[in-house]
Symmetry: C2
Subunit: 389 residues, 2 copies
């Protein structure tokens, strides 16, 4: 297992493409400019001769480009194995699937853990990026790959934000979009939760003003606390009760101490401790900040429907009944705006007690609805059928 506390590159077994160079710099929404932008990506399935079968999968906050195959750096398994693969709803026998690590991330794409041309780590001097910048980099990646049209863009959570941004930025290039367990704006409560995590990281003396990589230390304790706080929002109270309730961890009675007496404590500590081995703390700061700044309506005169007006893209919006991080209400607001804009829109709220993370888990109704929407869209697009006909 390799720690993210250094720049990753092609040498680590990652596919990486440069989408910006000093002669062709990358303009960020903040006004700042990046002279070098690498985007790390992974693909599955063959690109059709007509180049019309491309699916872009956008990852959530702490995930990466390894949606459908194991991550060679961390050794972790694919994060969306039930959704992307041969015979899966996003069928790699039919589609050429591309997933890339977001700009600002730490799995090979340029971010705060990257080195500048002079060898210094960016750290907290990395310019701030937005969801719009992340998608702009993904579009640049597809341009570099010679791909013009996207059949489908899909993603959950912040991946859903990117899917929405894709339809707006690449207006005529996206045939269908599936934002899952997502929102068109970050809520005050979510800004608050991620601010808690950021404060935990920045309170860690080993953060060192963001320059920890140069010092050979990492703010692991702060990052672990941030992860624990966030993880609670990814699951529902009902699922915590079902999985852990008040059961004790490896003991018959409480310790009258601060050990992890309860399974839920042990579980959260484990989530925190394993996270720090695979994620860069500054990336966590930058990506959560990009989420805070996401507000598609604000960018379109305060009216969300204006973002989507005139789009030919067909949408399928999913939410999960017990998701209190990105609530069904957020998805319904999105659907109302899509309808007001006259977009072809389907919406399904999946009944589950698994909370926000349900989109990553085995949810047969979700899988079936994904398959149904994608197959219908593929037929409308004139792509070959599931049986290859």
């Amino acid at each position: 297992m390799t720690s993210p506390a250094r720049s990753l590159s092609g040498a680590d077994g990652l596919k990486v493409l440069s989408v910006a160079t000093p002669g062709r710099p990358f303009q960020l929404e903040s006004g700042q400019v990046l002279d070098h932008v690498d985007i790390a990506y992974e693909t599955w399935g063959e690109l059709s001769p007509a180049r019309d079968n491309v699916v872009v999968v956008c990852h959530a906050l702490t995930l990466d480009q390894f949606a459908a195959s194991p991550n060679p750096v961390t050794g972790r398994p694919a994060w969306w194995p039930g959704m992307v693969g041969p015979g899966k709803p996003i069928d790699t026998n039919r589609f050429h699937v591309i997933a890339s690590n977001v700009l600002g991330g730490c799995m090979g794409s340029t971010g705060p853990a990257s080195q500048r041309p002079d060898g210094r780590y960016w750290g907290a001097e990395f310019p701030h990026v937005t969801i719009g910048d992340m998608v702009k980099a993904q579009i640049a990646l597809l341009d570099a790959l010679g791909i013009e049209d996207v059949f489908l863009v899909a993603g959950g959570s912040i991946g859903g934000m990117q899917a929405l941004e894709w339809t707006v930025q690449a207006r005529d290039r996206v045939f269908a979009a599936i934002p899952i367990a997502s929102a068109a704006r970050q809520s005050a409560q979510n800004i608050g939760f991620y601010e808690v995590g950021r404060q935990a990281i920045m309170a860690d003396p080993d953060w060192r003003g963001g320059a920890y990589l140069a010092s050979g230390v990492r703010p692991d304790r702060g990052l672990a606390v941030a992860r624990m706080a966030a993880h609670i929002t990814y699951v529902s109270e009902a699922s915590l009760k079902r999985k852990f309730d008040r059961r004790l961890q490896d003991r018959q009675s409480v310790s009258f101490g601060f050990d992890a007496d309860f399974q839920i404590e042990s579980y959260l500590r484990h989530q925190g401790q394993t996270f720090v081995d695979r994620f860069d703390a500054n990336s966590y700061l930058y990506i959560t900040r990009a989420m805070d700044y996401f507000d598609l309506a604000a960018a379109h005169g305060g009216v969300l429907a204006n973002a989507f007006r005139g789009l030919k893209t067909r949408f399928c919006v999913f939410s999960f009944s017990s998701d209190w991080h990105y609530t069904p209400e957020e998805s319904r607001n999105l659907v109302r705006a899509l309808n007001a804009a006259g977009c072809e829109t389907s919406y399904l709220s999946i009944d589950t007690d698994k909370g926000h993370d349900a989109f990553l888990l085995d949810e047969p109704e979700f899988d079936a609805a994904m398959t149904g929407f994608i197959d219908a869209a593929a037929e409308a697009r004139g792509l070959k059928r599931r049986d290859g006909a």
Copy 2:
């Protein structure tokens, strides 16, 4: 403003009574023994000649004995001014109201910020206390004050846990009880949230294994993060949206940085920063741990109704519709058990968007229902009426 990073005592303008001495030690649920236990308390209203008009008010996690008058140490105003006072639902013209700082607290009662007889601070060597121990100390306080019968015990959140514990421990001494926004057991989700806070505190190098008072430092950064994380659970998403939504703090556009761009960030940071000036980090660890350990059913053979069987106490249970920290569902579970035990029980869920903290805020329906229940109980108890007749 005085910081809690030292022992408080009568010299600070606090009323303090010793309820345990080396000759009469305090036996804790953990099996450990405290040779010295001071309990700091405050009272309002006159004790009737028959000593039958006593109301015990139990405070929530970070509050104290100053329910109805300003705290002379911190300068903060009374925390329940709408509920306790002349003409208020808990009417100090009729009742003798007693509130005490919990055992393990930091407002004059013995806790981890207290000094041992040899002058050393307890710190993390303080023995663990439970909600049962806190109530046992409160009962000892009333014994020391020569008070046998309690007309009413009332409290919100962890104060509600104490109110329930009172009815069980002092079975024949409590006429009426009002647990508000509370539960008969700490949920897995709540254990998780407080574990995040504890980890934030213990990750702060200035915690020093709990021995920070001897070093003249305080884990302020960790405690502030803990407070921020907890504070989000005290309010509802709807109230955060109403009060802050995505509004910016003192700026027209985002900073593309990690400053508190959003009002919600500024608000949470303020909550964290002001909290550390009035609360001891170890007390936070110990009291939250006592909350984790609270499970009234487990202490009664796994059947909650068994805890209440045979009680003559009349109950009024309150919950708030948007409280997701101690949900209405938790209160309904409690009410079902009280009904199963044959206890005289009223229950009201107040419709509000203010979340858990609603019990501390102006909620006219709540106030009116409190008045109605208390007046009826006073009449049943034969106490003098509101008009003095």
